[in-house]
């Protein structure tokens, strides 16, 4: 039941928010996200004692063999927790902002949270597909209405890209459905489907393209920098912190278990694509002058590494990916909060118009340094353990892959440190003279992020324990 609540609370709160006025939606959003965080922690506790009680099945379309089937494994618990925390952080950060049509804004934010949670909890392929699409619709409206100047065209491209990917996945899902012994969409039937290697060879691509567009992996990434740049920053936080994890999640939950031979056949190709993406995105990030685009490209690089590590497919690399999914989510949301603050104060996002902000906004500067370092993966921050495990796993798979992917780490240090330097150090200008430091809400959100960065950096064991079950099962598939 807890699992169903995780979807229902933001869904109902979202619908109610549409009808509220004034600061009603804000308060409701805060209450709903606090409640989901509490419940997500509750599922974690339940998972350690009685994991079976997290599953819930109800009849939906019996003729089709599709059921409303939700459940949680370690990975699911972790991602639901991430989703809940992400929306809480977003709501805290923007508590003092006033958006036009705030009721619709908060309503859509909450609905997208419900959709995302639905994706992470679905154990029925059709239901998974439906939530996968549903998570997208509110985000489409959010970006198109509250985004930057070029928002309409950019968001539209994003929508068509992902929609096409999902339709291909739908074809794959239907095909596999006909191969299942009992004509059912349940996860168990899908993993037991009779798929010969020839089928798996092309089925792999139907699924992989859908997931790769979402992550995004080179060469399916072209929507991403534009969308991150044009979206309102709160939405970018959800997009980059949680939504891209849908792609990684899809690969681990559905692609590897259902099409293991296909994945084994194509894993080298997939890894090569990821590595090209890492190097390419890092190089572009180095020469970016736009703060939002810089972080967008750095995100492509990080996600590329995670995707490569999934296909290296040994227990270590998978565990690294799973932990990193959570930590990357936290770190990148932290970075976006700071971007939101800078944009709110300066109204610009070009790096050469910034500088010297450390003097005017020392607290923000400290937070930026800590979170950036975590994003590079410095030891004792949360980014370290995941990257270490992923590289170690990738090394066992192939030295050369590891060597090229390792370039990404060095380059990420280059552009991240460059960014810190340009933003907070150096000479100030007229614009940055007027900056004010963080407000209480922003400080609270960033403190929460930094606490998680340090705690999980020093003591990552609880998180590793949570996901060890998933990585153990998945890594034995091929």
């Amino acid at each position: 039941m807890l699992t169903v609540l995780l979807i229902l609370i933001p869904f109902i709160a979202g619908l109610i928010a549409f009808g509220l006025k004034g600061s009603g939606p804000k308060v409701l959003g805060m209450i709903s996200s606090l409640a989901t965080v509490v419940i997500a922690i509750g599922t974690w506790c339940t998972f350690r004692t009685t994991p079976d009680s997290l599953n819930f099945v109800a009849n939906w379309i019996p003729q089709l063999g599709s059921q409303f089937r939700v459940g949680l494994d370690g990975m699911g618990v972790m991602l639901c927790l991430l989703t809940a925390i992400a929306s809480l952080l977003v709501f805290i950060t923007i508590y003092n902002r006033n958006y036009e049509k705030a009721n619709a804004f908060y309503g859509l934010m909450l609905l997208s949270q419900a959709g995302l949670t639905g994706v992470f909890t679905a154990f029925d392929a059709l239901q998974f597909y439906i939530f996968w699409e549903l998570a997208l619709i509110p985000v489409y409206f959010l970006c198109s209405f509250w985004g930057g100047e070029k928002r309409i065209a950019v968001t539209f491209k994003f929508f068509v890209y992902t929609f096409l990917g999902s339709l291909l996945m739908l074809v794959g899902i239907i095909y596999i459905y006909f191969q299942t012994p009992d004509h059912s969409f349940s996860f168990a039937s899908f993993t037991g489907a009779n798929l010969n290697p020839e089928d798996q060879k092309w089925l792999f691509w139907l699924f992989f393209v859908a997931f790769a567009i979402k992550m995004p992996v080179f060469p399916f990434h072209t929507w991403q920098p534009d969308t991150y740049e044009q979206s309102p920053t709160p939405v970018t936080m959800i997009l980059s912190g949680v939504m891209v994890k849908m792609g990684l999640f899809g690969v681990i939950r559905w692609l590897l278990p259902v099409i293991p031979q296909g994945a084994a056949m194509w894993s080298d190709v997939a890894i090569v694509l990821c590595i090209i993406g890492i190097v390419y995105a890092s190089c572009i990030a180095m020469v970016q002058n736009d703060l939002k685009r810089l972080i967008a490209y750095s995100s492509i690089a990080h996600i590329g590494l995670m995707c490569a590590a999934i296909f290296a497919n040994n227990e270590q690399s998978l565990q690294g990916v799973l932990v990193q999914m959570f930590n990357h989510g936290i770190n990148i949301i932290g970075l976006w909060i700071i971007v939101e603050v800078i944009q709110n104060r300066l109204g610009v996002k070009n790096l050469d118009q910034m500088g010297g902000m450390a003097q005017k906004a020392p607290r923000m500067a400290i937070f930026l340094v800590i979170i950036s370092l975590a994003n590079i993966g410095l030891p004792l921050t949360n980014g370290f353990i995941g990257e270490f495990l992923m590289f170690s796993g990738l090394f066992q798979y192939n030295h050369w892959f590891m060597a090229f992917a390792g370039l990404g780490i060095i380059l990420s240090a280059v552009y991240t440190l460059g960014m810190i330097q340009k933003v907070i150090f150096g000479q100030g200008n007229e614009l940055t003279e007027t900056t004010t430091d963080l407000q209480p809400g922003e400080t609270l959100a960033l403190s929460l992020v930094v606490i998680m960065v340090l705690v999980l950096g020093v003591y990552p064991k609880p998180m590793l324990d949570l996901v060890s079950g998933t990585s153990e099962v998945v890594s034995k598939l091929f």
Partner: protein
């Protein structure tokens, strides 16, 4: 059978009503009452055919499937009357006649869903078509409407001729008109019959506006009074498909003509999808865009005819319902606007939030986005094709086209929600809003629980 009789009778009665009743509002209520009666009469027949249909004099076969399709068609027509019934009086003087013609078309559709004899098929197609020629030209003073009517009439009669030729050839080969005894499913088919089949496929493709027999569609749909376009492009089109499916599903039973058949129809389907979608992208008028989108949607419905399996039959039912409700809804709102271009929708969300939200849901449904009826409609026809096994290439083309379709459907959504403007909207009544909400709820209900409809199959 009940539905056939009651719609035909209602048509005749309504013609006379026009002589005695002058109040146009009253005529509309009579029409709505008549269609409700037909709907209920049709449902009343369901228990009798639930465990197997029956044939009447070798001419008509009443089946569960036919009754279900009739229910969908009558339900859609009811919704159409509720939403657009008051638009009839804007077309011209003879409101009662228009309603009567719509009822005649409906009786043609009922016949198309239950014929078991080629002659009946011919009758059904003619009964469906002739009132449409009149309706297309109902706006007598408009040149475009006249052009539409003439064009439709010429092309339509030509294709009916081809249909008749096909029927003759098949009769020559088989010696019977009964579709279950045509023997088209046998190992080797008589060359005459093969020619006949091809001619019939062409003629029926014309009726459902499949490419390359679609040239009449945009002009006719654009030129006809919008209120009739809304009906012709939805319920009538679905009727064409049911005839198509019934004809070949029954006559091919158990045979292996499938290879040629699949090839010809796959090609027709593929070009229909590609051409319909690409042409819709370039339209400036929403009405014309909907005309091309109806060609594109016909491409999806053709999947059911290509695949010829049970899933496809279910798909046609669901697709007809989903597509008809959504398109009738969009047209109903379109008719309230002064400007039919995309710009005419600018800023509608601010001025009329309810209308805009309803149109958005309908367009989501047409694009096939989950939790709307359109998703499951597409799901079923794609499933039918995948189950068929040999036409995966077609499925891939279809999903590419579905992604393209998002472009033109979302242009309307973008205009309504993200662009500024002052659209000129006629004031809408409370009844209209209620009917619109009902349509939205139907779309969402079928999107969540398609078995509401399919459990009757």
């Amino acid at each position: 059978m009940n539905a056939l009789i009651s719609t035909a009778l209602s048509g005749v009665v309504l013609m006379f009503v026009g002589l005695f009743v002058r109040n146009k509002q009253h005529i509309k209520f009579y029409a709505i009452a008549a269609i409700l009666i037909a709907f209920i009469a049709n449902l009343a027949q369901y228990p009798a055919v639930e465990h197997g249909g029956y044939i009447m004099y070798g001419m008509i076969e009443v089946t569960k499937f036919g009754v279900l399709f009739n229910a969908v068609a009558l339900g859609a027509a009811l919704l159409y009357f509720l939403l657009s019934g008051s638009e009839f009086e804007k077309v011209g003087e003879h409101v009662a006649d228009y309603f009567a013609l719509v009822f005649f078309i409906l009786s043609g559709i009922m016949l198309a869903a239950s014929f078991s004899n080629l002659l009946m098929l011919f009758l059904a197609i003619e009964i469906m078509s002739i009132p449409q020629y009149i309706l297309a030209g109902a706006d007598k003073k408009s040149l475009k409407s006249n052009e539409a009517s003439l064009k439709y009439f010429l092309m339509g009669s030509f294709s009916t001729g081809i249909l008749l030729m096909g029927i003759t050839l098949i009769y020559g080969a088989a010696g019977t008109f009964e579709i279950s005894g045509l023997g088209l499913g046998a190992e080797s088919v008589h060359p005459l019959a093969l020619c006949g089949i091809i001619l019939m496929v062409f003629a029926l493709s014309f009726k459902v506006s499949a490419v390359p027999f679609h040239f009449w569609t945009p002009d006719v749909y654009d030129g006809s009074p919008t209120v009739f376009t809304s009906f012709m492009s939805t319920v009538v089109k679905a009727g064409g498909f049911i005839a198509f499916l019934r004809m070949f599903h029954t006559s091919f039973a158990g045979g292996n003509i499938s290879e040629h058949w699949t090839l010809i129809l796959s090609i027709i389907t593929a070009v229909t999808l590609i051409l319909g979608n690409f042409s819709a992208v370039f339209q400036q008028s929403v009405k014309r865009m909907l005309a091309y989108s109806s060609i594109a949607q016909a491409g999806f419905m053709l999947f059911a005819v290509v695949a010829m399996n049970n899933m496809g039959a279910q798909g046609i039912i669901l697709y007809s319902a989903a597509y008809s409700i959504a398109t009738i809804g969009v047209f109903a709102v379109l008719m309230k606007l002064k400007d039919y271009t995309f710009e005419g929708f600018n800023g509608l969300a601010k001025k009329e939030p309810l209308l805009a939200a309803a149109v958005a849901v309908f367009l989501f449904s047409l694009a096939g986005i989950p939790v709307t009826a359109g998703f499951f409609a597409k799901y079923f026809v794609l499933s039918a094709a995948i189950q068929h096994g040999h036409i995966l290439w077609l499925v891939i083309i279809a999903v590419l086209c579905a992604a393209i379709s998002v472009y033109y459907y979302f242009r309307v959504i973008i205009a309504m929600y993200f662009k500024q403007g002052e659209p000129e909207v006629e004031p809408v009544s409370g009844g209209f809003k209620a009917a619109l909400i009902l349509a939205v709820l139907l779309v969402l209900a079928l999107g969540l629980f398609p078995n509401l409809l399919l459990c009757w199959m």
